[in-house]
Subunit: 297 residues, 3 copies
């Protein structure tokens, strides 16, 4: 029994977990605190006389008795960058659960997506990702999204030893601690992590262009300025012209989905020969099935 | 793995699908776009800078990788009859999915209900429905409901070669294209489809009175007039008196459910010897199990 | 197939039922009337021209055809004590269903919780609960909660023959009919049921302090007065000092959960050596698995 605890919406994550569980003979429980289940208090030491009738301590401990693994999705609140970095919901479950806790995306990472990305990148690289150029490009979006997915891409590209080129406008840099650690890991594996300000240069010759929108680096000195000097959105949107700059013009377009067509990427790219986003999403079920087997057997 | 995609509420459909899957060793996923899962964009070629973060193209393609069959419920919006007839949600899934797509009710039909109806009608007919009189009667309702269920009844009665009598007030005629095709199919099988304006005449001697509320034919010239000249609602509500007009007074009362008691039909009928609505609903699981087996084995 | 019908939120109940079903090879359906499924009309004989499109008669009969057992959760509305005592939702399902109906909590009881409580109390008593002192204490709460859980505790303590001490302020007495029946049952089994106004006296030497908030006895003459003379909430909240009064200072703290920390009980108790609430919740799955086996095999 795998206990899924969703504080935020999901399509791929829940369905791929349910499918992986079903095919392995496990049962996935879909729990949504505050929606058919009790809202959870996360703070310690406060008298619980407000809206939340249950504390995460009890929820994590009790669910650990019914489930063999807990899988938690909790997006950052976006109020305060330091608060978001603490990932309080995920950490509270990890601290109080007595079974393994799997992140289904939190503020600082989306590890199942990262594993699926590593799987498809290795396939695109013909087996060995070491030294292969991969472009991770910032993309426009109507909302200021978390960095969870790009940070997992950075970690996994480093694990694979890729030459990872992160293209983003000034002020939208990815979390510096994760980037520093990724540079070390990549170097150990014959790869590197470099930042580009021009997405065309980052895409040139790459085996894949991985597009993802994310919000400005709210802790960096340049972040405030970044928000008033917006990047040229049309230029950052991935189009067929940029895809033609990739390796032998045959580079793959990747995205974790959901993707906003006409904002992040042109329809022409998603419907064209470059798009591997469906295969990429399919990898989710396989890597999660492997995770479940390795944790539960 | 059967992926259920519900844009609208369900009781019988979801539970009978879950039960059929469970008994066959399959797993049914219950997905509700916009409710715990992403809202879906259906239009092609528009920049997705609005509320919907995911396009149906990606959703259908990705779900096809996790599920062996997709089952989609999407009621018509009711804004425009031509738009409704296009069944854009169902058609988009059918177009972009790479696995079979089963309708769990759309604007123009409810095929699983139709198969269940054919099953119970054949049982009521003693095995062979050909030439047997069946009354499908319009019924009052506080809302203007779609024609999906009555159109499936018409199709299935025609397939079974019944003498189908459709009773409805002027201005509430069923979709003419479906009726024309049904007349042809019925004729090929020794049956026919006739329209009555008097529900008593249509019920006389019938093996079953199938009641269903539906909205006026919004494309017919008489539709506008119909809405100002309302039918006598008390007369159209099915009562014990009308049921006594049926075959040897032993005709069956059928309805797809949910049914509004005291509006569509009297309590006396539902609680009386005529009612077969629970058996009819039970057929849903059997025909759907057969469908799953024939599609997935 | 077990059909769960939830009119109210749940964490332990749904997840422990899903886990019990999964481990036994059964499938649990999670149905929520009015949320993804049709709202249900409960009243008989009224024309259904309002918001609810389906009557509980049809719902219970149809679900009985898809499921082998129905499990219904319906909290009291709290408008009128006599109405609540009638438990109309649960009774309607029990009356119209054609398969067994299990209560997952209604106004007057929470039998699965009661069985789990009996299991843990027997374990705490070293096997035989007869004659062992157990303290069930009223606790403060921001809302006026139903008596379902404490009434089931009373019944099960009586079944086990415990010396049950019910501690509550005047005006918060438990349902007199249930108490009278429990006194008889306890006496037959060598136990008794006594009411205390002082929680310290009730806790002294007890093998367990079972805390639970509940609302005033709305039918008792003293209830109106009770609501203006509130009990001293700090005194009634269970603290470490009170737990040290229990048997050899080793008494267990029990609660059905969810529990409001700092309102019902101090964090120090829940995090201390007394707390058995997680083990107690774990019993839910075991007793429900036993129930399912005894009913369905």
């Amino acid at each position: 029994v795998v206990g899924g605890v969703f504080f935020d919406p999901s399509l791929r994550t829940r369905v791929s977990m349910e499918a992986a569980c079903a095919r392995l003979g496990a049962h996935f429980v879909d729990l949504r605190p505050g929606e058919g289940s009790w809202a959870l208090e996360l703070r310690d030491g406060v008298p619980m006389d407000g809206a939340a009738p249950e504390h995460v301590r009890e929820a994590a401990r009790v669910l650990s008795r019914y489930a063999d693994l807990l899988a938690v999705r909790s997006f950052p609140a976006g109020r305060d960058p330091e608060e978001d970095r603490r990932e309080e919901v995920l950490r509270a479950f990890a601290r109080h659960a007595t079974v393994p806790v799997l992140s289904l995306e939190s503020a600082m990472g989306h590890p199942c997506q990262g594993l699926a990305d590593l799987m498809i990148l290795r396939e695109l690289a013909g087996g060995d990702l070491a030294g292969k150029p991969v472009c991770l490009t910032w993309a426009p979006h109507p909302k200021s999204l978390p960095q969870a997915v790009p940070l997992s891409v950075v970690r996994m590209a480093a694990v694979g030893g890729a030459e990872l080129r992160v293209a983003c406008p000034e002020g939208w840099d990815l979390d510096e601690e994760v980037m520093a650690r990724a540079r070390e890991m990549a170097a150990e594996r014959g790869g590197r992590v470099v930042v580009h300000r021009d997405p065309d240069a980052a895409a040139a010759g790459a085996i894949a262009v991985y597009a993802k929108a994310w919000g400005p680096d709210r802790r960096a000195p340049s972040a405030a300025a970044a928000r008033s000097e917006l990047p040229r959105l049309d230029y950052w949107r991935v189009d067929a012209r940029r895809m033609r700059l990739t390796m032998g013009r045959k580079g793959a377009f990747l995205h974790c989905l959901p993707v906003r067509r006409g904002v992040v990427v042109d329809d022409e790219v998603l419907e064209g020969p470059w798009s591997r986003v469906t295969d990429q999403a399919a990898c989710r079920e396989f890597v999660q099935a492997a995770l479940l087997l390795s944790w539960l057997l």
